[in-house]
């Protein structure tokens, strides 16, 4: 009996250990945002809220984050619009160029970032376009696009086409059907795609590094600072973004759980 229960425990224990492994450096990063360090943030020197209270004392960190947020928002808007259109077309319509579209959406995901980064940088260089915010945004829209399509496609596939037909039967014109029926039903998928796209853009380093010129982004700032030690202010920003994201995800899930429980009751 005893041996049996030990065997049953192996899998949960292994899984918890794997999660501890995944989360250890996150805990470390958050902890060291409270480190009373002055320059390099490598040794624990005591607890302080100083870095949280005055993040923008390090002007360079704040500028980099501002750039990352601006790039993330603009890239997400473009990638989400282009990607949603592609996803609707791929699920709803039959057309000849379909495998070409699928292939050109798959390939960017199967191409290493360093190839995408060097390729775009070479193109901009040959065309005489100086690297900066615009080239970063162009690059981000490109690699976010495929992920938006995959995410929205999953939602379009669950959509019941009879709802749209019902709308059309009730004399809604195609435009109204799209705005009043299709779009609201697709919204959850579009929102997850946009969040994913923003996260990908915000955290991208390699492609950005090749196409940024002198513009700094948050990941680029950390990469460059790594040689001499990353200041605690970078940990503050990363921790704040992390906590915000986790709260959003948990809130969505708890809301979903409550909704399901209510549905089960009624």
């Amino acid at each position: 009996m005893r041996k049996f229960s030990l065997g049953k425990l192996a899998l949960p224990v292994y899984s918890v250990l794997a999660l501890v492994f995944l989360l250890t450096p996150i805990a470390y990063t958050i902890l060291f945002s409270f480190n009373d360090s002055t320059r390099s943030n490598t040794v624990w020197e005591g607890f302080t809220l100083r870095h949280w209270a005055q993040v923008c004392n390090r002007q360079d960190v704040c500028d980099a984050v501002t750039n990352s947020i601006v790039i993330g928002i603009i890239s997400t808007i473009f990638a989400t619009i282009l990607g949603t259109a592609l996803a609707i077309a791929l699920v709803r319509y039959s057309f000849r160029a379909r495998s070409l579209v699928s292939l050109s959406l798959f390939l960017p995901m199967a191409t290493p970032e360093v190839v995408l980064g060097a390729g775009l940088a070479g193109l901009f260089f040959n065309a005489g376009v100086g690297a900066g915010m615009v080239t970063i945004i162009i690059a981000h829209v490109m690699f976010c696009l495929s992920f938006v399509v995959v995410t929205v496609k999953a939602r379009v596939q669950t959509l019941d086409p009879t709802l749209e037909e019902a709308g059309a039967d009730l004399y809604a014109n195609p435009r109204q059907v799209f705005r009043k029926i299709t779009l609201p039903l697709l919204m959850p998928g579009i929102i997850s795609a946009a969040l994913l796209s923003f996260a990908l853009s915000f955290d991208d380093f390699i492609i950005t590094y090749f196409n940024s010129g002198s513009v700094s982004t948050f990941p680029k700032y950390i990469y460059v600072a790594a040689a001499r030690g990353v200041p605690a202010e970078a940990n503050v920003i990363a921790s704040a973004v992390f906590i915000l994201a986790i709260v959003i995800v948990l809130a969505t899930q708890i809301r979903g759980a409550i909704k399901r429980a209510k549905l089960a009751k009624s």
């Binding site: 995944l22 996150i26 259109a85 592609l86 039959s94 292939l103 390729g119 390699i206």
Partner: protein
């Protein structure tokens, strides 16, 4: 087709509900397709062209002309052989480790936790939690946790796994460790998506027919989860082969752990040797495409995905 491995392929089943599109389809796909043509396909072609260039006769640094110079590929292959072997060696090792860590985890969350959906959701959130915090900072955290004066390294010293003069950071093992760590969620998620739908009645049927737990796993669970294993290994192997951050000396590596990406970055951004950087990129892309195609064909599930 290989690209179906990512779920990007078109399922032909639900054609009955599909409408024939005219101008609407064009309006939906053209903007995206043109965008990818301009900023994905053109750069690849431009890489291929640049890979065939020769240094400008004037001798100016960073100036080249198109010459159909295939010699760049030969140069890159001989000069960067250690980096090429290392990149694919690291990618192979890290993918295997990530699979070994992810499979039991994904099985536990996807199959064992079905009866308690709230815990299942919570654990899944913890698996994707690393996505919400910069991977550069997480890698730096490991660098400090495994530094030369850390408890981990003194443990390795006292166990005589490392000689007193040796350290962990900067070694092949440290880079593989970092790569494995950073790509575990990319492996766990597709495995979870697959195992979540695993029909456990098939497992019961197998054990009712006197298959040992070991045999049930090998003959039923493993083959059924093959599509998840394939997407997971592709989603980890490809980006790992092109990564160079973990191997950088400012992170977990040293000058002895440089990868293909390290050389592309150095040639492109520091040495302005665009033909060399381009030839190396084209080579990396070509090798990956060949490996992916062979791998997906071999595993024989190309149509299942």
């Amino acid at each position: 087709m290989a690209f179906a491995a990512f779920g990007g392929g078109a399922p032909a089943k639900d054609n009955s509900t599909k409408r024939k599109g005219g101008p609407i389809v064009l309006a939906l796909i053209l903007p995206g397709l043109i965008y990818l043509g301009l900023f994905f396909m053109t750069p690849l072609v431009s890489l291929l062209v640049t890979a065939l260039e020769s240094p400008d006769p004037s001798g100016a640094i960073g100036a080249y002309f198109y010459d159909l110079n295939f010699g760049n590929f030969a140069t890159v292959l001989t000069d960067y052989m250690p980096q090429i072997l290392r990149s694919f060696g690291y990618a192979f090792a890290a993918t295997v480790f990530a699979l070994a860590i992810s499979y039991p985890l994904a099985y536990f969350i996807g199959v064992k936790l079905r009866t308690s959906p709230l815990i299942q959701r919570l654990m899944l959130t913890l698996v994707i939690a690393p996505f919400f915090i910069s991977f550069l900072l997480r890698t730096i955290a490991w660098k400090q946790l495994l530094s030369d004066d850390s408890g981990f390294v003194s443990l390795l010293h006292s166990l005589h796994i490392l000689a007193p003069s040796q350290f962990f950071l900067g070694s092949d093992a440290a880079v593989i460790f970092g790569l494995t760590y950073n790509f575990i969620p990319f492996m766990t998620l597709p495995l979870f998506t697959n195992l979540e739908r695993l029909d456990t009645r098939l497992l019961e049927a197998a054990s009712d027919l006197y298959a040992s737990p070991n045999k049930v796993f090998r003959k039923v669970t493993l083959p059924l989860s093959m599509p998840g294993i394939i997407s997971g290994t592709l989603l980890t192997f490809i980006p790992i082969a092109g990564d160079y951050v973990n191997a950088s000396r400012d992170f977990l590596g040293s000058s002895k752990t440089s990868m293909i990406g390290t050389m592309v970055e150095a040639d492109f951004l520091q040495n302005w040797n665009y033909p060399s950087a381009s030839a190396l990129s084209v080579l990396l892309m070509g090798l990956i495409l060949v490996m992916v195609t062979v791998y997906v064909r071999r595993s024989g599930t190309e149509d299942l995905l």
